[in-house]
């Protein structure tokens, strides 16, 4: 093999090994701030303090581990208001390389159909080898987003992943279901949603936090992505929130004192409710 062939061969191997990972993260109202539904919109009042969604931190951590093992680049992507940049900075502080925020007032009020459309457009632009999602949004407003995005991107997907490996151009995930776990392999490029069981996220180091402030951050509008107004917001959504009420009082709370028959009474209670 000539020196030139060797160089191109190495370059090809390096390209195969190094992986570009896009991590989709969501900023949610901080669990500590009292959560409220905004009576005007019926949606979660997001004006309070905000933090990176807990499982998204697991996704960022997984991306970091993969990058440490294989080399490559990590870009964190989010759709949200300007202040979502703070959460993106947390991901940068952990070690992600770049952040992309799609921030446009027209996006407000978007449901799954609309949000997945915008996110897919942003991800197409990145053309990552692997797109990672965190599995559970603590405000459960973003649950199941990954499956919708994977369909729009026309990429294979694995969700509920508790263990992830990359080998050559294949991702193998251990997927947890109600019945046990399956092991599934997908060729890259692919979409993977990870569960919080997958890893213990690192704390950003002080140096990481300080350098995060100078890492590249892009803020995009819908126009930058070529997304039309009618595909987002209330117009682009296919679901509505109509009103809210306290839940119906839990039928008949019962309180009894044990007179020797408590166990029997409990069994009767459970049987009545078809819990046995």
């Amino acid at each position: 093999m000539t020196g030139f062939d060797c160089v191109t061969a190495c370059a090809r191997v390096a390209r195969v090994l190094a992986v570009k990972i896009a991590v989709c993260v969501k900023q949610v109202p901080d669990a500590a701030a009292a959560k409220r539904l905004d009576p005007a919109t019926g949606r979660l009042d997001r004006s309070g303090e905000t933090a990176l969604n807990a499982t998204d931190v697991n996704a960022v951590e997984e991306a970091l581990r993969l990058k440490e093992a294989h080399g490559g680049e990590i870009v964190v992507v989010s759709v949200g208001p300007e202040k979502a940049l703070e959460s993106l900075r947390k991901a940068l502080a952990m070690g992600a390389d770049r952040a992309v925020l799609v921030s446009d007032p027209a996006v407000a009020g978007s449901d799954l159909v609309a949000t997945s459309h915008v996110l897919a457009k942003a991800l197409e632009r990145e053309a990552a080898d692997l797109v990672l999602f965190g599995q559970q949004s603590s405000d459960s407003d973003g649950a199941v987003l990954w499956a919708a995005v994977a369909d729009r991107l026309r990429r294979p997907m694995i969700s509920q992943v508790a263990e992830l490996k990359l080998d050559g151009g294949t991702a193998t995930g251990k997927r947890q279901t109600e019945f046990g776990y399956d092991v599934i392999a997908v060729p890259l490029p692919a979409v993977v949603a990870v569960s919080d069981a997958i890893n213990e996220p690192r704390y950003p180091s002080l140096k990481g936090i300080m350098s995060a402030k100078s890492k590249p951050t892009e803020t995009l509008s819908l126009a930058d992505l070529g997304v039309e107004g009618e595909r987002v917001g209330v117009a682009g959504s296919r679901t509505t929130v109509m009103g809210m009420a306290p839940p119906p009082p839990k039928g008949g709370q019962v309180k009894i004192e044990d007179d020797g028959n408590a166990a029997e009474k409990i069994v009767d209670f459970l049987a009545e409710r078809k819990l046995l």
Partner: protein, 568 residues
């Protein structure tokens, strides 16, 4: 029979533990120009003023490197650990933002004080009394100190400060007799201190000047005072305040302070304190109960006193139809002038705000002192960093002391210097003495009153707890649900950050158990010799600092843990 004192069972802690030389390799250390420890109004004012000055002096800014000003705070974000009434004298922010009306106008407030009332409470009645001369608040601003800090942090960042929340200051770095920075706390340790999977060691941050603005019961401040022999004439003493914010049905039209019930007047109890109730706009009310930690009764509980206080018809009426939306607790340094360190600076070090003891208890004012001292500290630091100066030289920062104590902060503290101590003599005698002091601006009575450390108070027991109301979940609340309302969700497997003697007489264990607003301490099993074990749940801790006053030592836990105050 000798009285039992918490002070006889000191915690396993020595200041030397919090002082050390840098340990990271020289090229691993994080270098900044000026490091501010603490993101309260004092630290933030210092950072803001530094930013202003560095803008005017670009070559100095250049010399200070990539990060000319850095500020660390142990809370989740600036404001997370801040709690106060608060009615703030705007004079210090006006000075800080002189010539910058936009920044001044942007300060979040709940309006100016127009009306105020002081009431003496008895069990069933509230008697309006003329406000003592120290309590004239007309024109002062009602603020949430937590919100104020968030605003000031934004201003500090805009002015060029690198704000680093979730970062605790564990050790003061001292090298060749000079303060050279701090070491931040580790993260990711387990219950026994063992490194967990995501262990992240702390880092040495080295700076040319270090400003300690840690607030009440400052960890590094106390160590620095010991290390550099800066003890003041009297030891520091504290009050403990427990606060709630309520959404109310009817707006409150005045700020209110109360004295008297449910505290006892007799001198032997040493129960000094009272309450505040402040409107926060039309929809919210801030209320809190404060008690001096020199009290003697083992069963005194500031949290439960607040709950009891709310059952008074006067207060109940104000809260009727409302709901509690926040809770928190924090100590206040109350030793005043004589408890100030004899110097507020050391080589490479400046002490700012409440951690230096700059609080005027009779006026219930400290926020503007913190801001003013932060501003002056910044100016002294910049002078000492000027071309040809060496900030580590002994005396290089003395101009800070001169300006601060020569200005209104020093003057006002001196006027009321004996007032708090007078109340050791009980409500009536103390009250009379306080009046005398006010009228004569501190000249009478003659002499200087000493102070006993809070932990020295001989304990007594009077079945006081029988008077506390049971929690009803609507007007009155238990400690655990209150800790929840503070936003505290500290992970449970963190190492214990509270230093106390674990085997103590039952009375001392009970003292701590009642004292702590967050139910960190519980009386454990009998340990023989008339001693009991003290059971700890450190993850409940809201870092109020009371234990430091009453026989133990609070050290900073992992950065980012503790309460997440937003409205206090």
């Amino acid at each position: 029979m000798t009285a039992i004192r918490a002070a006889d069972y000191p915690p396993p802690f020595s200041s030397a533990e919090a002082i050390g030389a840098p340990t990271d390799a020289a090229d691993e250390r994080i270098e900044v120009g000026v490091l501010v420890v603490g993101g309260g109004p004092g630290g933030l004012a210092c950072a803001i003023r530094l930013g202003q000055l560095l803008q005017e002096q670009p070559e100095l800014a250049e010399r200070l490197g990539d990060v000319p000003v850095a500020l660390v705070d142990k809370g989740k974000q600036p404001g997370s650990h801040l709690l106060s009434g608060a009615v703030m004298n705007p004079r210090a922010v006006r000075r800080l933002f002189k010539g910058r009306p936009d920044q001044l106008d942007g300060i979040p407030t709940y309006g100016e004080v127009h009306r105020e009332g002081v009431y003496l409470l008895t069990k069933g009645r509230a008697l309006r009394i003329p406000p003592p001369p120290t309590m004239r608040n007309h024109g002062n601003w009602i603020v949430s100190i937590s919100q104020l800090a968030r605003y000031l942090a934004d201003q500090a960042e805009t002015a060029g400060t690198m704000v680093l929340p979730e970062t605790s200051a564990d050790t003061l770095l001292v090298d060749h007799g000079r303060v050279v920075g701090i070491r931040t706390g580790d993260k990711g340790r387990g219950k026994e201190g063992e490194p967990l999977g995501n262990f992240e060691p702390g880092a040495d941050i080295v700076a040319k000047v270090t400003v300690l603005a840690e607030g009440t019961a400052g960890h590094l401040t106390a160590a620095a005072v010991d290390r550099f022999g800066l003890h003041g004439r009297n030891p520091q003493i504290w009050e403990l305040g427990v606060k709630e914010v309520w959404r109310v049905a009817k707006p409150l039209d005045r700020i209110v302070h109360t004295l008297g019930w449910p505290l006892r007047k007799g001198a032997r109890y040493r129960e000094f304190g009272g309450s505040w109730i402040y409107p926060m706009g039309d929809e919210l009310v801030s209320l809190g109960f404060v008690i001096g930690l020199d009290y003697r009764d083992v069963e005194l509980s500031a949290h439960d006193l607040l709950q009891e206080f709310k059952t008074h018809p006067f207060v109940r009426k104000l809260l009727d139809g409302g709901e509690r939306v926040a809770w928190g607790a924090k100590t206040i340094s109350s030793g005043g002038f004589h408890s100030l360190p004899r110097k507020l600076n050391a080589p490479g070090l400046l002490l700012v705000g409440e951690s230096a003891g700059l609080v005027n208890i009779p006026r219930l004012k400290g926020v503007h002192y913190a801001i003013e001292s932060g501003r002056l500290a910044a100016e002294a630091a910049v002078r000492a960093l000027g071309r040809g100066e060496v900030p580590g030289r002994i005396g290089a920062l003395d101009s800070y002391d001169d300006e601060l104590l020569g200005g209104y902060v020093g003057r006002e503290l001196r006027e009321v210097r004996n007032m708090r101590q007078a109340f050791d003599k009980g409500f009536f005698v103390g009250g009379a003495l306080a009046s005398a002091m006010t009228v004569t601006k501190g000249k009478l009575p003659p002499g200087e009153l000493g102070t006993e450390p809070n932990a020295d108070a001989p304990l007594l027991k009077t079945n006081r707890a029988a008077g506390y109301p049971a929690a009803d979940g609507a007007l009155t609340f238990d400690k655990l649900s209150s800790v929840f309302a503070s936003g505290n969700r500290t992970r449970d497997d963190q190492p214990n950050h509270v230093r106390i003697e674990r085997r103590v007489p039952r009375e001392v264990a009970e003292l701590w158990s009642w004292m702590c607003p967050a139910q960190v301490y519980e009386v454990g099993e009998d340990d023989g010799d008339g001693l009991v074990q003290v059971k700890l749940t450190p993850s409940n801790c809201v870092q109020c600092g009371a234990i430091t006053a009453k026989g133990g030592r609070l050290t900073p836990p992992e950065g980012g843990s503790g309460p997440e105050y937003t409205l206090t």
